[in-house]
């Protein structure tokens, strides 16, 4: 696997031996996020119970599915985030480190709920937020990027993110992303076309996207948002009949 030299150096110099190699560093990182995996398993089971009545209610159409393909952030993604965080924060004392990343990063464990309609996203958001089981076990914070003003938007992503922090163990986080099918489709393409390239060399947008593919992808996200709104209107009209 080819890594950004900055990541390779970090692995070599910061991760304690004998795990400070490209081949082994993953074991070191994974060993620190075992609890996150366990948490993800149980919250997933709980969320499926929460969503079950909705699926029954909307059995004549697709309501939502849970995407569990990447439940734990990859070890290289974690290292990259530590480095990027430090670069952005500039050693102000609240940066990520190998010692604290597993209690500070809120997206180490995550899964995605992909909904058919925009209004379904908000139904799911509400149901999860109001679940007594989840409310009693977690502090729940929201990050909503679906309905943001243009000035606030950093990327094309439009989702609701619920960040759950386990009350019995502060610092143990899990992120639930809720988005529409169109937003997810966009995200998967963007991940390959833009995100990964930018992650490898964050300061070279001019060079990497000289064809303005980054701008085009951003614009596409906005178009899909309009489409989602339109589909939702059509749905409402049909349901009124």
């Amino acid at each position: 696997m080819a890594f950004n030299p900055e990541i390779s150096d970090y692995i070599k110099n910061k991760i304690p031996p004998p795990d400070n190699t490209i081949k082994k560093f993953g074991n070191f990182i994974s060993s620190k996020i075992q609890e996150h995996g366990t948490l993800c398993t149980t919250v997933l089971a709980e969320v499926e119970k929460i969503l079950s009545p909705f699926k029954t209610q909307h059995q004549n159409r697709f309501f939502c599915r849970i995407d569990t393909d990447h439940k734990l952030k990859s070890p290289v993604g974690i290292i990259e985030k530590i480095i990027r965080g430090n670069r952005e924060l500039g050693n102000k004392g609240d940066e990520f480190t190998l010692e604290n990343f597993n209690t500070r990063m809120t997206d180490l464990a995550r899964f995605r709920i992909v909904c058919n309609f925009l209004s379904d996203v908000f139904l799911v958001q509400k149901a999860i937020k109001n679940s007594n089981e989840l409310k009693s076990a977690f502090k729940i914070k929201e990050k909503i990027s679906i309905e943001q003003r243009p000035a606030q938007r950093k990327s094309g992503e439009r989702s609701v993110k619920l960040i759950l922090e386990y009350k019995n163990k502060p610092g143990l986080f899990l992120e639930i992303q809720i988005m529409t099918q169109l937003a997810e489709a966009w995200d998967k393409k963007d991940h390959y076309l833009i995100y990964e390239i930018r992650r490898m060399s964050p300061d070279k947008d001019e060079e990497n996207f000289s064809d303005f593919s980054d701008a085009k992808m951003f614009a596409m996200a906005e178009l899909l948002y309009i489409a989602d709104n339109y589909f939702d209107d059509l749905k409402k009209q049909r349901e009124k009949k």
């Binding site: 074991n27 994974s30 060993s31 075992q34 609890e35 995996g37 366990t38 948490l39 993800c40 398993t41 149980t42 919250v43 997933l44 089971a45 709980e46 499926e48 119970k49 849970i66 569990t68 393909d69 439940k71 734990l72 089981e133 989840l134 076990a137 386990y166 019995n168």
Partner: protein
């Protein structure tokens, strides 16, 4: 106690991966139903991590969240899907919801040792071998130590303690460090047959073929089948009958003179049966047994590179003594085979139930052991078998139903055949003297009805029943072996097995 639900597809996979070869891995899958199981799942994950502490240089530990168990191999191609075992959390949790390290450790050890079967099966009426053979590590290392010190061993244990299973297991596992030949003496009733059975043992063990006379070796090579071996034994019978001592001494001589660094060991199992049957032969006298033992003593002095493990009932020396036979066994290192410790028995029960997809709690295991008393392997297996059968029928058993299985099934008339060997022992007691059977029965009847009985009182019972007291002490020794009776700390006599006591109370009185 209930059958495990293995339908749930969503859950958590705990995987243990070899550091040297990541394709060498095994996993435990715990279905998860909701958030309420998070804290316990954490405890189980941590518990297994701790169980791996002694293997941490060789194995990594990892957890995977699984949405669809059937697709685990597709999502995590590194995982060996053929080595995934499904459990429910309850199987590893105490009543206080803490992880039970004994269970985790027992499971991890079996998986790491790559037992062909992870879970020991139930063996009733046959030897426990291979993966069904459980633990006995301490006994095995003691025996190995004595053998490497050049000692002969007299392995003693009451009936049904698993001597033959242990010795068969030893034959297989020690064969890397010594030439070891298992000889089953059951069925023999003469010195000639003693030799014939040794020859049979040698024919069954290729490592010993090199010491056979040329013509037998040739025949053994030509035919490795049971039929072929029978033909050889038949053809050698004449030579053995002509002079059994010269015959076997020639083979022992060849073994003794072989230039090798490792000892040659003969395991002579069921010596008691051989002697009993020799004595029972109408045309026989104790002189033949005495002659055999004298010769056996002589060859032990003569062939220094051959060692013997003699195995028979606990009372072998007493038995010989009853018949005034000088066993000359003083050079043997006596080794007793004990029962499973409580911890080992608990782990064994857990694994047996887990292997049958049945959840059994720590408390239920305690109740099983309390109900039957001493975990005599044969009877423990019978009890577990009865419990599993009942649980399969009802899908779950409550504590009251566990008791019912013990009293109605195990101690019920339907199980009488499993206890026949005990009754048969009593039938044979008259060989020790007139009315010995009646005397022994009177003692057992008394013991079955009391918590304990002073030995003096039993002696009076014996005297009243048999008309004399001369055989009392020896018979008590013999009964220890056959009926699991023993003196307690105050030297009163008790049934050491609660199960046998209760069985006798129901069916023996």
């Amino acid at each position: 106690m209930k059958l495990r639900d293995e339908k749930q597809k969503k859950g958590h996979l705990l995987t243990i991966i070899s550091k040297k070869d990541r394709t060498d891995n095994f996993s435990f899958f715990f279905p998860v139903e909701g958030l309420s199981q998070f804290d316990t799942l954490l405890k189980i994950s941590k518990g297994f991590e701790d169980c791996l502490a002694s293997f941490k240089n060789d194995y990594d530990y990892s957890g995977y969240s699984i949405s669809d168990f059937g697709k685990a191999g597709e999502v995590f191609p590194e995982i060996d899907i053929h080595r995934i075992l499904i459990f429910e959390q309850a199987e590893f949790l105490s009543a206080a919801s803490t992880f039970i390290p004994e269970f985790g450790q027992a499971l991890v050890n079996r998986c790491i040792k790559k037992n062909r079967q992870i879970f020991p099966g139930i063996v009733t009426g046959a030897m426990a071998s291979g993966s069904n053979f459980y633990d006995r590590n301490k006994d095995m290392s003691t025996i190995k130590k004595h053998l490497l010190e050049g000692k002969n061993i007299l392995l003693r244990a009451p009936r049904r303690y698993g001597k033959t299973s242990l010795l068969t297991h030893i034959t297989k596992t020690f064969s890397h460090s010594m030439d070891i030949c298992f000889v089953d003496l059951e069925g023999g009733d003469s010195s000639e047959e003693f030799v014939e059975l040794i020859l049979k043992g040698i024919l069954l063990n290729k490592n010993f073929h090199q010491y056979l006379p040329g013509h037998i070796l040739k025949a053994a090579k030509a035919s490795g089948s049971d039929r072929g071996r029978l033909d050889i034994l038949r053809s050698e019978r004449k030579a053995i009958r002509k002079d059994w001592k010269t015959y076997i001494e020639f083979i022992f001589h060849c073994i003794d003179k072989a230039e090798k660094d490792t000892p040659s060991v003969f395991i002579l199992d069921e010596v008691s049966f051989l002697i009993e049957d020799m004595l029972e032969r109408k045309d026989n006298e104790k002189n033949e047994v005495e002659e055999l033992f004298q010769w056996f003593s002589k060859i032990r002095g003569k062939y220094k590179n051959i060692q013997f493990i003699l195995s028979g009932s606990e009372h072998l020396p007493t038995f010989l003594n009853v018949f005034g036979i000088e066993g000359q066994l003083d050079d043997f290192q006596e080794t007793s085979l004990n029962l499973f410790s409580k911890k080992i028995a608990t782990q064994f029960i857990f694994l047996v139930f887990a292997g049958h997809k049945t959840i059994v709690s720590q408390k239920e295991i305690e109740s099983i052991l309390k109900l039957m008393g001493k975990p005599i392997p044969y009877f423990l297996q019978l009890f577990l078998d009865a419990l599993l059968t009942a649980c399969r029928e009802k899908t779950a058993l409550n504590p009251e139903q566990i008791k019912e299985v013990y009293y109605n099934d195990l101690l019920g008339s339907g199980s009488k055949r499993y206890f026949e060997s005990i009754e048969k022992q009593l039938e044979r007691y008259n060989r020790y003297g007139k009315r010995c059977r009646a005397g022994a029965k009177a003692i057992l009847d008394k013991l079955a009805q009391a918590d304990f009985v002073p030995i003096e009182e039993l002696e009076i019972i014996w005297e009243e029943t048999t008309g004399g007291s001369e055989q009392f002490t020896r018979m008590m020794e013999i009964m220890k072996d056959d009926f699991y009776i023993k003196p307690n700390r105050k030297n009163n006599i008790i049934f050491d097995s609660k199960l046998i006591k209760e069985w006798w109370f129901r069916h023996g009185l």
